[in-house]
């Protein structure tokens, strides 16, 4: 089973090459793309089933001896992330097909390379290899973001490209310093080192900044609301669910395994989490277009995940992981709903929309389910995830962050109501040449509603989700299993 670990990376890259070569033979790119994503999904499901009891599987690429080899590790956390990533890519590709975006040249190769990069980032156990997979993922995202190459894409894509280039350079410098100080970049080997030395702390700070940019933490969050609202809707939905979460995952992994949850950094992490939650939600309240508000929400919700990380401990990390899984599903669902609205009406500006609940009831219901889940209302999945986080906060005496998270939930609900009032409620705006609302197309609405159903399922099975998250968190709290799997040379 562990021998299949390189497949989620290798298959999409090979398929991307095939899709490039066959890009003018019309049914092939789509068939290759969808087929590979489905295979990836099947593999990820098998990995989740294999690791659900907390087992950690590792394979040394190239069969070199540990710790010189690059290890690919499947532990419960990375297997769950692989699974969710596969689901998101599949659903967003279905939405892109419904919108006709997949006819753009190189769409499938880029999505497949993105999938390969994301998968590699989730399962690698080597810091420099993480950098490489980040870059693979980023280059695909740069091209996807600026596809169409109009003035708007160039202007806002440039911001995204520059910010991430800077983050990548900082990551590289951090890795270099880490190697210089400790002599290794293998995460399992680093786990044995002392995180409190000046050199390691400096390298860790650089890595934190780099991952923080990627995850859109305050104060380096500004790129996200500047670029996501201007991507094409399917691409924005794909990014919203995946890219920031790779940064969050890297933070979780490096902080837990490499730094062993060093208590010196926890206060800083909690402070950053609180600031991120607040800044994100206030930005959301001030937004004037659907996707601007939702983009600020991504910032705010990442704060919750980092809150789980800062609390550390089995309950805090379990809450963080549960939140990551819930948020990927819900946020992608919201972006897909916003994309459907933009496809129907040609705009996402709240001032120019209205009354869509009457004409598109299924879309409205799907949106409201996801919106309530994001705000943390019971009985949706967001409520359970936030409950775990708040309980962890009370358990460790961090009342301030618990209070902030509850207040931010109210403001999140407020901003969601703003979208609801602006887009779905009331009367349709009478524009010059007033057009009737276009008829509902199932293919456009289905992906978002499907993910809303998934999030409801997560809420129904909240206990099982919590247990899965706890199993994943246990490997993070005590990385001994991770270290043994990598350094013990198990295959």
């Amino acid at each position: 089973m562990s021998g299949a670990a390189p497949l989620p990376i290798a298959l999409p890259i090979l398929a991307a090459g095939g899709a490039v070569m066959l890009r003018h033979r019309i049914p092939w790119p789509r068939a290759l793309g969808l087929g590979t994503i489905v295979v990836h999904l099947a593999l990820a499901t098998a990995f989740v089933l294999a690791t659900r009891t907390g087992e950690v599987l590792a394979v040394q690429v190239g069969d070199w001896p540990a710790p010189f080899a690059i290890a690919l590790v499947l532990d419960p956390f990375s297997a769950l992330m692989l699974l969710v990533a596969g689901v998101m890519v599949l659903v967003c590709t279905a939405f892109a097909i419904a919108r006709g975006e997949d006819h753009r040249p190189f769409f499938y190769p880029l999505v497949l390379v993105l999938l390969a990069g994301v998968s590699g980032a989730f399962i690698t156990a080597d810091l420099f290899n993480l950098f490489v997979f980040f870059e693979v993922m980023l280059i695909a995202s740069y091209v996807l973001l600026t596809m169409g190459a109009g003035a708007r894409q160039i202007r806002h894509g440039i911001i995204y490209v520059m910010t991430n280039l800077l983050a990548s350079t900082v990551f590289l410098i951090g890795t270099g310093v880490m190697y210089g100080v400790t002599g290794t970049v293998n995460m399992a080997e680093l786990a044995a080192g002392d995180p409190a030395t000046a050199g390691a702390a400096f390298a860790g700070a650089l890595l934190l900044v780099s991952f923080g940019v990627k995850a859109s933490l305050v104060p380096v969050h500004g790129w996200l609301p500047s670029s996501y609202p201007h991507a094409s809707p399917a691409v924005a939905a794909l990014f919203s669910g995946l890219l920031t979460k790779v940064g969050v995952y890297a933070l979780f992994r490096v902080y837990s395994v490499v730094f062993g949850g060093a208590p010196q950094f926890r206060a800083a992490l909690l402070a950053i989490a609180g600031a991120t939650m607040l800044v994100g939600v206030f930005g959301a309240i001030g937004g004037e277009a659907m996707r601007s508000i939702l983009s600020f929400h991504i910032v705010s919700q990442v704060g919750y995940m980092i809150m789980g990380l800062g609390l550390f401990g089995p309950l805090g990390l379990a809450g963080g992981i549960f939140y990551i899984l819930h948020h990927i599903v819900v946020k992608t669902s919201l972006f897909l709903a916003a994309g459907a609205v933009e496809t129907y009406q040609g705009t996402g500006a709240l001032a120019r929309l209205g009354g869509m609940a009457r004409s598109h009831p299924v879309l409205a219901v799907g949106f409201s389910v996801s919106a309530f889940s994001l705000a943390g209302l019971p009985p949706f999945s967001g409520f359970f995830a936030k409950l775990v986080l708040v309980r962890a906060a009370f358990g460790s005496g961090s009342y301030a962050i618990a209070g902030i998270s509850i207040v931010v939930s109210f403001f999140t609900l407020l901003s969601m109501l703003k979208i609801w009032n602006g887009v779905f409620w009331g009367r349709p705006q009478e524009e010059d040449g007033a057009h009737a609302a276009p008829p509902a197309r199932a293919a456009l609405v289905a992906p978002g509603v499907l993910l809303a159903v998934v999030s409801v399922t997560m809420a129904v099975f909240a206990q099982q989700m919590f247990e899965l998250s706890s199993t994943a968190a246990d490997v993070l709290v005590d990385p001994a299993g991770y270290v043994d799997a990598v350094l013990g040379g198990s295959r």
């Binding site: 490489v132 440039i158 800077l166 590289l172 190697y179």
Partner: protein, 109 residues
């Protein structure tokens, strides 16, 4: 010591350029920052070790091959990124009418 000085100089120059207006200057800034990172990577293997890292070949202070591999990978990645950002700048010249993206916020939703 020289190495640290070089890295510092490159980072300073790169940071200055990255903060300029104009995509091409920013791209050059990233090129310099990438060079700084690569020099740092090579230095992290030990600046004094210059021997050939061959198995059984007898240099007394063999250089550490791993950071050199890191640097090669990073150079290639940086090359691809530079090519892309320059392509964006080239396209931007046709579409925006110049090198400047400062007024990026004056836009529709």
């Amino acid at each position: 010591m020289t190495g640290a000085f070089v890295v510092g100089l490159l980072v300073a120059a790169g940071t200055y350029l990255v903060l300029q207006r104009g995509i091409v200057r920013v791209a050059l800034g990233f090129v310099l920052l990438g060079h700084a990172a690569n020099v740092l990577l090579v230095l992290s293997g030990g600046a004094g070790r210059r021997g050939a890292p061959l198995v059984g070949g007898g240099a007394d202070a063999p250089a550490d091959p791993l950071p050199q591999a890191f640097a090669l990978t990073a150079i290639v990645i940086g090359f691809a990124m530079t090519a892309f950002i320059l392509a964006l700048a080239y396209r931007g010249r046709d579409v925006i009418g110049g090198d400047d993206v400062e007024d990026a916020e004056s836009d529709d939703s």
